[in-house]
Amino acid sequence: MPETLSSKDHSLFRQVVHHFEMKQYKKGIKTADQVLRKNPKHGDTQAMKALNMSQIGQLEEAFALAKTALQNDMKSHITWHVYGLLLRQEKNYEEAIKAYRFALRLEPESQPIQRDLALLQMQMRDYQGYIRSRSAMLQTRPGFRQNWTALAIAHHLAGDLAEAEKVLTTYEDTLKGATPHVADMENSEATLYKNTIIAETGNVERALEHLEAVGYRCTDVLAVMEMKANYLLRLDRKTEAEAAYTALLERNPDNSIYYNGLIKAKAIPESDHKALKALYDEWVEKNPRCDAARRIPLDFLEGEDFKQAADAYLQRMLKKGVPSLFVNIKQLYVNPAKRDVVQELVEGYLSGKATNGSAESNGDNNEFLSCTYYFLAQHYDYHVSRNLPKAMENVEKAIELSPKAVEYQMTKARIWKHYGNPGKAAEEMEKARLLDEKDRHINTKAAKYVLRNNDNEKALELMSKFTRNETVGGTLGDLHEMQCTWFLTEDAEAFLRQKKLGLALKRFHSVNNIFDTWQEDQFDFHGFSLRKGMIRAYVDMVRWEDRLREHPFYTRMAIGAVKAHLLLHDQPDLVHGPMPSGINGLDSTDENQRKKALKKAKKEQQRLEKVESDKRAARKAAAANAKGADGETKKEDSDPLGNTLVQTQDPLKDAMKFLAPLLRSSPQNIEAQCLGFEVYSRQNKHLLAVKCLVAAHSIDPSNPTLHLQLLRFRKSLESLAEPLPEKIAEVVNAEFDKLLPKTQNLEEWNESYLSTNKGSVAHVQAGLSGRQFLIPESKPQCEQDLLATLDSPDITIDEATAALDILNKWGSDKTAYAEKAGKKWPESSVFELN
């Protein structure tokens, strides 16, 4: 039976609650202890003590105590509520919801419990539960507009648009014509929110009507204008839509979407270049400084018209010395004719033919010249117009004219990158950095180039110039805290290239954790946004959070992480650190050599651990009690090298943590599907493996990676250790037969792939791998053929480096290939075998 408190102790207990509310957690604990001395089994006090403890980093102890509290008093809403709150802190949302429900059953009138339950239901997207909670809250306090809005949101997100609108209208009716003031933003936003709901029903006509009636008094003027233009265009009310998009452009002539709307409204056919050009010219006249209206016509103009317009555009920008001209132009190069015209024009400016005779003063001419050289340097560096020696020549001239220009030096580094020499590229980028040490952008570039050269340590040192290095964990700690995803991902990829899998996994996991944090971030807004009243933005946020991992940052990280796990599965020795290639290779037969390499790797790992612990000790000495950004004392990472991650028993299972969300969020990504096949086939999950193949096939049936996988899968089906269960076999065979029929002779199929795709080096490489796989004796011939691809005029340096990996997989000698490639790309370093 629960203990009852004396009146003195009861008032002490109320103090505990008060201390908690005032965030005086230590006082709360102290006061609780006072009560507990006399009433050691008082559940509510124990629970409140636990809650206070949880706020000062003692979550584990708090949990134990909260459980005891529950045992001592199962019938108290406080013990259940606290238990729920702790579960929530631990992100065990489902259990937390159950605990809140128990608490609510014991105390149905409690607003705080109801509110906490509702917040979690929203976080968990339990819309039916959220509707129930919100209905109850509305009934208790119908005077608050936010309670109505909240219920409308619940119905809206649950998909019941009509009910959502009805709730909003019911509240409006209670106002009985007393129009809220213009300054009432909550009202303004609720009105627009209702309008978006009407539009979502698909009844755009009614949405427009509603907007016309109320939009004039909504203070988010731009939103009203955008919505109106959008509705009008959808309703095909052309004249009005034209006016609406014109009004939008008058506000912002730098938004191509508005021009699209205007053109649709005016029903100008895409082919009527003359009319289109005239339209854009009109806007140039209205806004002489606006770039969009000058630039967009270059997209559709052709032939002589294009040449003329491009000439005017290029000259104007070069004379103004706009350094960002090339990035604004390069999209045009998808059309080779335009690419060539641009090249001809700009080369012409240098030979002085086409400068329109405007004699510039010398100083200006200098700027014009250096800008032009800079443009050509980028032009010849760009992949569809690449001529690296010419690029280098031009960038040198630009640098000669303006030796202090950071951009020029950056481009020089870029050219070296494309030469296939990451070391030299990093060196040149460092020179650029030194030209402006206070600029973070160039510092970022320098760090990135150093990472591409696999020098993780140097990169971190560069990053440290702009981070708060007193943070727990130093520079890296700050980069984590500031959620610097680009660096963590690049760092991980560099470790992966070096086969330092522990650290690679560590960084990939960090980025994954950042995404988890971003998902968690929405929690506070479920309550906050209702108070603020910015409902449209809130609903947008909720919907975005549901597709958070579609972001390319996630895709890239997850792909890397899955690759790392696969590598670890295939080469378990890598758990001890990187080993020289060839020994990791599938052909490693020399056990002695393997042991030697292992020993070396382990020694290196020990050295790293020592370095890391020294660093930590140094940091500790420097800042005895470093604090995180949110004021909480943060603990040092106990596993900075990722040892626990890399020592996993089941890398494939760990890979699923990344693969599952990846396939769910980006099913159209063929690389993801191919990786899915790799994981599932190793797990002998044939159905899932085939599903990935089918998906990849529907994206690009001739994809090189897929081609090889199809062959491998067919072969593996033929040589199963034990037959698949009948039902599975049936589906697998039926599905797979559509991709690669059983009756098909594989060698013929592969040869026909080779001849169909002989124009593409990547495809030829896959075909050769296929042949080598099907007929192991053909290896010498395959090696010869692979070597011959170096003579292809189209081969890129990336394709050539990929060939080195292929030779590795074949267990072939890479010397001949590397030598020939090195001669083809004399500036490169990537073909130097060590």
Partner: protein
């Protein structure tokens, strides 16, 4: 080619936030959690704008984004302005504040920063009836200073010693925005006409409260969101201004 778009456009482009954060940490030493960006986007959704590189071949169009829809395309973000309203203005005057503005070095001199600023300023005046907009700029940042002072018309209000984490001083600048305020009288007149129509002859519409009330009401609301770096720029801004 670069487009300047509202962060909370119709339909919403809120999925640009991670790329905005990356743009910020690539260019500037003052960085924030994503939650701080969310906080801006969900408190003052009208005030922030983004510069994105239009994808090759343009944006896909969708039912809701009939003229083109940035959402789901994840274009490269090359600039942004992150802005807010001052939550507790010391002088009681509603005013906006530029939390962060940056444009990638590779995309300078296309007029991007100017357009971003003008859009945000206008939204501050219209949506929030801001009296003025304030910002801080490094004294050494000549290019930014030229934009604010010469192009946009900001005036230096004062110098703040050691404002930045590295010890550099800042100019505190501001620009009056009252010329862009909405005509509330006209809106109220239309309200009255509407009411007259509805209620026959008896339409007697109240004149509405004074402007200042809104600010106070807002200021009383609690903010539970953790902001930026514990004492990052977001907070520093508040602190420095309340000292004044």
């Amino acid at each position: 080619m670069v487009d300047i778009v509202p962060l909370s456009s119709y339909p919403s482009y809120i999925d640009l936030l991670p790329s905005i954060q990356t743009c910020n940490i690539t260019n500037l030493p003052e960085n924030y959690f994503l939650k701080y960006y969310l906080y801006h986007a969900l408190t003052w959704p009208q005030l922030s704008f983004v510069a994105v590189v239009r994808p090759r071949g343009g944006y896909k169009s969708s039912t809701t984004g009939i003229a083109g829809n940035v959402a789901g395309e994840y274009p490269k973000v090359v600039g942004y302005v992150l802005a807010k309203m001052e939550e507790e203005p010391t002088d009681g005057l509603q005013h906006g504040h530029i939390t962060s503005l940056s444009v990638m070095r590779t995309h300078r001199r296309l007029g991007i920063a100017e357009r971003l600023m003008r859009m945000s300023q206008r939204a501050m005046a219209e949506s929030h009836r801001a009296h003025f907009v304030s910002l801080h700029v490094r004294m050494s940042n000549v290019a930014a200073l030229r934009l604010y002072r010469d192009t946009l018309g900001f005036e230096v209000e004062k110098v703040e010693d050691g404002y930045y984490a590295d010890g550099e001083d800042a100019y505190a600048m501001r620009l009056n925005l009252q010329n862009m305020w909405l005509d509330w009288k006209a809106i109220e007149k239309r309200d009255a006409e509407n009411n007259k129509e509805k209620n026959g002859e008896e339409g007697n519409e109240d004149e509405g409260e004074e402007v200042g009330d809104l600010g106070k009401k807002d200021a009383e609301k609690m903010i539970r969101v953790k902001v930026g770096r514990g004492l990052g720029v977001g907070d520093l801004v508040e602190k420095n201004e309340s000292k004044a």
